[in-house]
């Protein structure tokens, strides 16, 4: 026992010294925790298992891009990017300890592209109080961009769900002014954000929405026939699906099975990858007049076959053995990782958390992200913290998505 006690004491002394070193060893003027002369450590929590594990590939694609940068350019300004990914199974109660681990034990420089609205909300206050950047969270919940003033160490990346819904509203007012709209939405922040965006976008014409029905993410897909039957009976001729992928695919099939042929079906962008549309077709969905929006190049779209950005994507994704090159989530990962590298490059020798956060939150101006649709700008200013606000309407042509019209910009319309 005595020996154990002395060992404990020794361990204590060691750890205290260690902690003291970590806390007070004066960092050189231009770097922070997690940055050495030849490396930068970024952390990430994402669902690699559990109900949302389908999104997990995003982190692997991001890692593939960092690997590409490390191998071809020796990292950013001579610093290789190390990326530590931890599985939170989409459960906020796990996101919290894992994030604390990354920050306090692994000493990451910043958190990058964490997944999930609830999960990222659960660590937002913690990261802001520690002044650890929470960069480019993988959710379009408006709060991650709109509340920058109160949480200035947190920034989103992808277009906000509400902005996307504004675009649908514009499209419908322009092309189907007499539509009767029925909405099926998931009863969480995601579905509610979309619904609010649609309502706001329609403005005085919000009465075009004749019925809206919600479902819980715990529902079994076939029981959505109940909500969809109600929407059909409401006389709606235009259907909005603000749903997550499995429910989108199921709903598209159920609509056909109900003998319902709405004039137009609008899908939110998260569940529109071509591979999902293929599933829906195999499940029996008719897929006539299906509309959505996009802002990233679709790897399955033949028009990008000779595009430099798409070729780069294919080179990058070869670094990830588990990534499906056609999965839209992977090019999303590459695109957001591109922005991350861009920020680190701009930070140059002033590699502090404050500076990186300032660049990401207020000084972004990317006009050349190779994985985004031509013309899409990733931009933040001191008064605008919505990085991406442009999207383009796409229509399903039976085998792929066709870009229609031009980019629509919703900058400044969401508060």
């Amino acid at each position: 026992m005595a020996r154990n006690a002395s060992r404990l004491a020794a361990m204590a002394a060691f750890l205290v010294t260690l902690a003291a070193c970590g806390g007070s060893s004066a960092p050189s003027a231009q770097t922070d925790v997690g940055v050495t002369s030849n490396s930068i450590l970024l952390g990430n929590t994402i669902a690699l298992s559990g109900p949302a594990a389908g999104y997990g590939t995003i982190a692997n694609a991001e890692n593939a891009y960092f690997t590409y940068i490390n191998n071809t350019q020796g990292g950013v300004n001579g610093r290789k990017i190390n990326f530590k990914i931890l599985d939170d199974a989409y459960n906020p109660a796990q996101t919290v300890p894992l994030t604390k681990q990354l920050v306090e034990q692994d000493q990451v420089f910043a958190m990058f592209s964490g997944l999930g609205t609830q999960a990222q909300t659960s660590v937002r206050d913690y990261l802001n109080s520690k002044k650890v950047p929470q960069l480019f969270v993988a959710t379009g919940a408006t709060t991650f961009m709109a509340d920058f003033s109160s949480h200035n160490y947190t920034i989103g990346w992808q277009p906000p769900y509400q902005g996307e819904a504004h675009i649908y509203a514009k499209d419908i007012l322009a092309n189907h002014p007499n539509a009767k709209i029925g909405v099926l939405y998931q009863n969480d922040d995601y579905g509610q954000d979309y619904l609010k965006g649609l309502n706001d976008g329609l403005g005085s014409k919000a009465s075009m929405i004749v019925d809206k029905e919600s479902y819980d993410v715990s529902a079994a897909v076939p029981t959505l026939a109940s909500q969809l039957s109600k929407l059909k009976a409401s006389g709606a001729d235009t259907l909005f699906l603000f749903t997550t992928p499995a429910f989108t695919i199921g709903s598209l099939a159920i609509v056909t099975k109900l003998g319902w042929t709405p004039a137009t079906i609008y899908l939110n962008s998260v569940s529109n990858p071509q591979v999902y549309m293929g599933f829906a077709a195999k499940s029996g969905a008719a897929l006539k007049n299906v509309t959505s929006v996009g802002y990233i190049k679709d790897p399955t779209d033949p028009q990008w076959a000779n595009d430099a950005g798409m070729k780069l994507y294919k080179t990058v994704i070869a670094n990830c053995s588990t990534c499906n090159v056609n999965d839209g989530f992977n090019i999303y990962g590459a695109a957001v990782a591109w922005s991350m590298v861009d920020v680190l490059t701009k930070a140059g020798s002033n590699m502090t958390r404050a500076n990186v956060m300032n660049i990401a939150g207020s000084q972004l101006n990317e006009t050349n992200n190779p994985f985004l649709l031509p013309g899409v700008v990733v931009k933040t200013t001191s008064s605008d913290h919505f990085p991406i606000t442009q999207e383009q309407v796409i229509n399903w042509n039976g085998t792929g998505w066709t870009l229609t019209g031009s980019l629509i910009d919703e900058r400044g319309t969401i508060k």
């Binding site: 404990l8 361990m11 204590a12 750890l15 205290v16 902690a19 003291a20 690699l48 298992s49 559990g50 931890l86 599985d87 199974a89 989409y90 459960n91 906020p92 109660a93 919290v96 300890p97 604390k100 681990q101 306090e104 034990q105 999930g116 609205t117 609830q118 999960a119 909300t121 659960s122 660590v123 206050d125 913690y126 009863n187 969480d188 922040d189 509610q192 819980d216 993410v217 715990s218």
Partner: protein
């Protein structure tokens, strides 16, 4: 065999465990303290489940729901009514305890199998039930809780020992630690006295227990109430340590995790839940992180373990424990201890003609 003779090593172990847990935060990092707080919180909930399952012989596969109730009670009181979080902890325990007691009344009519079915369904439905009264529970946005700063006397005491100021995580660890010590002491007292004896009698045969004058219905609902009380306290602490409660924080996996820990540690034993909690808390973390960090483990195997995730390990261990060690770790240790002792001074015990107590006798 007298109680006295077997007591000393146990008291020794208890003192050792309490001292170890009390001193732990002074030698580990603040982050590690928050991990151990997480394990202690699970231990409290598992102690509650142990009272229900191990001692009274009823089944609950939905204790995560009771934790959710406790966590939300505290969160709503603290967030909306500005009640001091420390004050909300016993309130959360009481409210959840009452809910558990009420739940125990219809549960009386159900066989073990049906009770398992109903509580499992409850665990699965819990997140959607939380979402419904969104104005009250915060819906999917959840409720963010401020983590408390340690009081001055704790700060002083802690920095006197370690030389570093105390963090919120370390303070939360000590709050949890005190709750755990009190609740384990309380459970130990219950199971040694009349209620514990009654519950065990019911578990081992309801009819016989009733025939010998035990109020079967009363003690069964009492067990449910007590068990929920523990889960409520654990839930309240869970919200405090996470700093956030939301529907997805209470998935069905939480209920399974509680059951796994209680079973692996050893049902119907006092130290069981503690060991089970350490196992259930650290296994998923370590299988994900420790394994790949070891250079001697071939990367192929490490990658496989990580990819398989905790689910496969959990499932396999549950089955193996039930088949080979139904009394859990505590059962194994006790059996080994008594085998050893029998060998050392076996003759003496054999003369008395009494069997050494198993784990089930506490």
């Amino acid at each position: 065999m007298s109680r006295i003779r077997s007591a000393p090593p146990r008291y020794f172990l208890v003192v050792l465990a309490v001292l170890f847990l009390a001193g732990l935060p002074t030698v580990i990092t603040s982050f590690q303290a928050s991990e151990w707080a997480g394990a202690l919180i699970l231990a409290i909930a598992m102690m509650g489940l142990n009272i229900l399952v191990g001692y009274s012989g009823q089944i609950s596969l939905g204790h995560g729901a009771f934790m959710a109730l406790g966590a939300y009670t505290s969160a709503i009181l603290a967030h909306r009514y500005n009640v001091d979080y420390l004050v909300t902890i016993p309130i959360a325990g009481l409210i959840t305890g009452i809910a558990g007691f009420l739940f125990g009344i219809p549960a009386l009519r159900l066989s073990a199998l049906y009770l398992a079915l109903a509580t499992f369904a409850l665990a699965v439905v819990t997140p959607s039930l939380i979402k419904r009264p969104a104005g009250f529970t915060g819906g999917v946005q959840g409720i963010i809780l401020l983590q408390p700063d340690p009081p001055q006397f704790m700060k002083d005491a802690f920095s006197a020992v370690t030389g570093t100021p105390m963090t919120s995580d370390q303070w939360i660890y000590y709050i949890t630690f005190v709750c755990a010590v009190l609740l384990f002491w309380f459970a130990w007292n219950i199971v040694r006295h009349r209620p514990g004896r009654a519950m065990r009698a019911i578990r081992d045969g309801e009819v016989a227990a009733a025939a010998s004058g035990v109020n079967v219905a009363g003690y069964k609902t009492l067990a449910f109430g007590l068990s929920a009380f523990y889960a409520g306290i654990a839930g309240s602490l869970f919200g405090l340590s996470t700093g956030f409660v939301s529907p997805d924080t209470f998935p069905v996996g939480l209920s399974i995790q509680l059951l796994v820990g209680a079973v692996v540690g050893g049902l119907a034993s006092i130290p069981g839940p503690l060991l089970g909690a350490v196992f259930a808390y650290f296994l998923p973390i370590e299988s994900n992180q420790w394994v790949p960090s070891q250079t001697w483990i071939p990367s192929q195997i490490a990658a496989t373990v990580v990819k398989a995730g905790p689910a496969v390990t959990y499932g396999a261990i549950l089955i193996l424990v039930m088949i080979f060690a139904p009394n859990g770790v505590v059962g194994l240790v006790t059996a080994a201890y008594f085998r050893l002792r029998r060998r050392l001074r076996g003759a003496g015990d054999r003369e008395t003609g009494q069997m050494p107590p198993g784990a089930q006798t506490v």
